[in-house]
């Protein structure tokens, strides 16, 4: 059975990445994975780096991986109101555009920064965020 659809938009600082009708938005908030369907209650959530999936209208069986838009998504926010979803994220990269070698060197750098930073310093927390992002993106790359 086809689910009802609702408009979704993905905004990054470098412009709008995607806009269209979807049946489900699947991403990950600070508290865990989330799938937003139509008529969701107003929601404001903080997003973690993960694979963002937009199940487009007409994909009767989302699990089959049919009509799904995938992105490597950075930190950001998800806002659902008036039956429409707005994703405000720092990065949204198509899996095929992921630059693996750049990410790997990035990860190494961030790990070094983390290990050399003082315990409980902002510098350390920041390096940890960088590590988490690079790891999440690398995982998406090897998964696709």
């Amino acid at each position: 059975m086809a689910r009802s659809s609702f408009p979704a938009e993905v905004l990054t600082p470098e412009g709008q990445v995607w806009e269209g009708e979807v049946e489900m938005v699947s991403t990950r908030t600070l508290t865990g994975s989330i799938g937003v369907l139509a008529n969701h209650a107003p929601l404001m959530a903080m997003l973690e780096p993960t694979e963002l999936r937009l199940y487009k209208s007409g994909s009767d069986n989302p699990g089959a991986g049919g009509d799904v838009e995938r992105f490597a998504q950075g930190e950001g926010y998800l806002q659902v109101v008036d039956n429409s979803a707005l994703l405000i994220v720092e990065d949204a990269i198509r899996p095929e555009d992921i630059d693996r070698s750049a990410l790997e060197s990035r990860l190494k750098e961030a790990e070094q920064a983390r290990d050399s930073a003082d315990e409980d310093s902002e510098e350390r927390r920041r390096a940890e965020r960088d590590v988490a992002r690079a790891q999440a993106f690398l995982e998406i790359d090897s998964g696709s």
């Binding site: 470098e14 709008q16 908030t29 209650a41 959530a45 109101v81 405000i88 510098e123």
Partner: protein
């Protein structure tokens, strides 16, 4: 004295330079258009973040203490972030930033403060090093096309130094983009970030946000996690956005400045070619006269 051939060679080399500058002008014009578009692309994102912040601030019971908003008790060490380009040949684009930075540093040192230097762009980094300053943060290699992740790197480094107390105030100096022909040296205080209330007041002028406010009013929002925590992440986003905008404006300004510089280089080359052509003609005339005189002298010798 230069012979006709020498002058001819010089003319052709100046013509080559003219061609190169023409090409550089065209490249700069194309990049300028792209840079302008990217400034446009940032706007919806920045507005969305601002709207979210306002909503979140309304939802929090008490604004949590955020280290980026608080000024330090004593301002001993002031950071100056200079935003320049990786390449030269853009008129006064880079030098005016360095000059403004050095002047500001002089003022601050006069007040007995220490300076922490930060620079983005190869030109800024190398001129600071050349002047014997120790650079606490250097970012380069992206000024033709800065990505948001570059701004995130800069913001992350500077914000964590601020939070960890290594610097007490940070100012950013960059070429603000006014039009392709004008760049404005702009100095912004990056940290401490203006208080949230002030940020929000400023936004009242932003277009088309009042109706949004009405409809969004009284909606029962689910927050995940609670609004205080969301606010804690939103605040650093402002710094990232400010730096990203400055990088984009600086890039647009750089291409604008290069366009202007290359156009005037072409004009100069044109003038030079005119002068050289005149000299070449004169030279040729002199050579012809010389030959005629020799022929006449030879004929006279025979008679």
């Amino acid at each position: 004295m230069a012979t006709q051939k020498d002058v001819k060679n010089r003319i052709s080399s100046v013509k080559n330079i003219q061609k190169i500058t023409k090409a550089m002008e065209m490249v700069a014009a194309a990049r300028l258009r792209r840079a302008e578009q990217r400034i446009e692309h940032l706007r919806p994102y920045a507005q969305a973040i601002r709207r979210m912040t306002r909503r979140t601030v309304e939802a929090v019971e008490k604004i949590p203490s955020l280290p980026l908003l608080e000024s330090h008790d004593s301002e001993k060490r002031v950071g100056l972030l200079l935003i320049t380009g990786d390449r030269g040949l853009a008129g006064a684009f880079n030098s005016q930033i360095i000059r403004a930075g050095t002047r500001r540093a002089g003022e601050l040192e006069g007040e007995g403060k220490e300076i922490a230097w930060y620079a983005s762009g190869r030109r800024g980094v190398s001129s600071l090093t050349f002047r014997g300053h120790q650079v606490d943060g250097a970012w380069q290699g992206f000024t033709d096309r800065p990505a948001f992740s570059d701004a995130r790197d800069i913001a992350g480094d500077i914000a964590s130094q601020y939070i960890d107390g290594k610097v007490d105030r940070v100012e950013m100096i960059y070429n603000g983009y006014v039009s392709p022909l004008t760049q404005d040296v702009t100095t912004d205080v990056l940290l401490p970030l203006k208080a949230v209330e002030q940020l929000l007041e400023e936004d009242e002028d932003a277009e088309g946000e009042t109706e949004e406010r009405e409809s969004g009013h009284k909606t029962l929002w689910i927050y995940e996690p609670d609004p205080e925590e969301i606010l804690q992440r939103l605040v650093p986003d402002y710094i990232e956005i400010s730096i990203y905008r400055a990088l984009l404006e600086s890039t647009a300004s750089e291409h604008g400045a290069r366009m202007t510089a290359m156009r005037s280089a072409q004009e100069n080359a044109g003038e030079m070619i005119d002068d050289l052509t005149l000299e070449m003609n004169r030279q040729r005339q002199a050579e012809i006269t010389q030959e005629i005189m020799e022929v006449v002298a030879g004929a006279e010798g025979l008679s």
